[in-house]
Symmetry: C2
Subunit: 301 residues, 2 copies
């Protein structure tokens, strides 16, 4: 099996960019030049920008299926574009690679990236490679959203219902952190069909992310542990703390809750939309007892 | 001196995003949400996309001044936007960080990023942090260019004069690889005032980059070693092979060479624009004797 150090940089790039999904109508210059050149958003739309990194032994290991690592690398960024109510468009991939990586491993990584890109309408239009001691995949992704319609974290109001899609917990142990489907269609439906005050995706875990949404909205949160939608076999504490769920967290007016949940169930009958509590005034929040530690902090000792 | 592991991720991000240059008129949502939201290019303009990574012990060491490492991280991407004839606009920064990095080092890195961004009209609108064993700074950058006016690598023609700006060689040894100024103004002037068939920036070195431009244009190159503009104290071989020059490499019609060089000297009297050879038909190229090894390959053994 040839290693990266056997074939060199230019040959690797030639292999990886072959067959990249690239919607010709919006891409003027794809991988291979100094930059990519793509069409601007349509009139009335703004540009969304996101960058997201996977680091070996932090977000994945080389023993995991490389197709799924590639899927995850792009799906995480798509999830963020979706959580703003936008549609993903053009991606760039940066690889930092030890020389001992098998070329076949990288080609499988790219196969996963390509499949995910195709499924969500993303064109991969370029990227970069560098050597390094620790394998790293960074995705930079653009999206389009109607100007004035992006759903931020900061729009939550005191009294809003706090909802999450799907089920939480056990993502890393189950392998779901590799194979999840980003909620871009669901988020787009929510942004279009409901009055969403605030929304974000759950990457670091409810315990880290809910306080961020509440703080950005000038609120605190009250959450009931028994209301957390737990994956089978998971405790509420795991649902709170495990992270990597890539579900949506949103705040909606309490008055619209029943109507929204009925419409949601009709549209997405196989995906839960659970009310787990509400936003409250600063100083009055109440979180489950196990919430003391919060969720994931990359740098905490 | 506090370390990253002492203060944690949220506190780090709060410190780093304070005071980021952000041109309010084009930025609707800056750092702190799932994505950044920025204005689309003006009508008649396309979007340029670039990603570029600096890896510790490959592109910099922690003993180097962190302000200059931050400058380099952004200036490299600006150089690529410039080499397409575009103007840089919005940047995202991904940091992969060992826990033992000093917070002050990162703040200085960001000071360098901020100063470079301010000097070139770039708004830093977001980013991401992750832990890792090897320090890594990735910049994703957008630019705008008039649709149909981007200067590619692939437009060179047989008979074109091959030119480079400035002087080459010795960049790493001299520290210029950290402090260089990207040739965005010069590239913009060239794209606007001259008939440029092809252009790229010199990052991996003339020995790697010139064959790429020639190949993309369906040509080979003939270069005369004695014509290479060498930095003081550098040999033509160093000018060919050292890399990290961040000068412009361009192909122009031979018939326009004299006029272009006269106009260039009037506009940029302190920067050389040297003709080093020409593009020729495949199979007829001739390179200096020391060109056998080409330039920099990240993965060559």
């Amino acid at each position: 099996m040839p290693l990266l150090s056997d074939i060199g940089e230019d040959a690797l790039v030639t292999r990886l960019i072959a067959g990249l999904p690239c919607e010709a109508s919006s891409v003027r210059v794809a991988a291979g030049d100094d930059c990519a050149e793509v069409l601007a958003p349509l009139p009335g739309q703004s540009l969304l920008l996101k960058t997201d990194v996977l680091v070996e032994d932090v977000h994945f290991t080389r023993a995991m299926p490389p197709e799924l690592v590639g899927h995850k690398a792009l799906a995480r960024a798509i999830s963020d574009i979706g959580a703003m109510g936008g549609l993903p468009q053009h991606g760039l991939v940066t690889l930092v690679l030890p020389g001992d990586v098998e070329v076949a491993w990288l080609e499988s990584l790219y196969a996963g990236l390509r499949r995910c890109a195709g499924a969500y309408g993303v064109s991969i239009v370029g990227g970069e490679t560098s050597r390094g001691r620790q394998l790293m995949v960074n995705v930079a992704l653009t999206g389009w959203v109607e100007t004035g319609r992006a759903v931020l974290r900061s729009g939550g109001q005191v009294g809003d219902a706090v909802l999450v899609t799907g089920w939480l917990g056990g993502s890393f142990a189950s392998g779901r952190h590799l194979s999840f489907e980003p909620r871009v269609h669901e988020a787009r439906w929510l942004a279009t069909n409901a009055e969403i005050h605030a929304m974000m995706d759950l990457s670091d875990g409810l315990g880290s992310d809910l306080p961020r949404l509440a703080r950005a909205s000038g609120c605190e949160a009250s959450v009931e542990a028994t209301l957390l939608p737990c994956h089978t076999g998971c405790t509420p504490e795991q649902a709170w703390s495990d992270g990597e769920d890539y579900e949506l967290l949103l705040a909606v007016p309490m008055s619209s809750l029943a109507t929204l949940q009925a419409a949601w169930t009709a549209r997405f009958p196989h995906l839960a939309l659970s009310c787990i509590g509400q936003l409250v005034a600063p100083g009055t929040g109440s979180l489950p007892a196990f919430a003391r530690q919060g969720g994931w902090d990359h740098f905490a000792r």
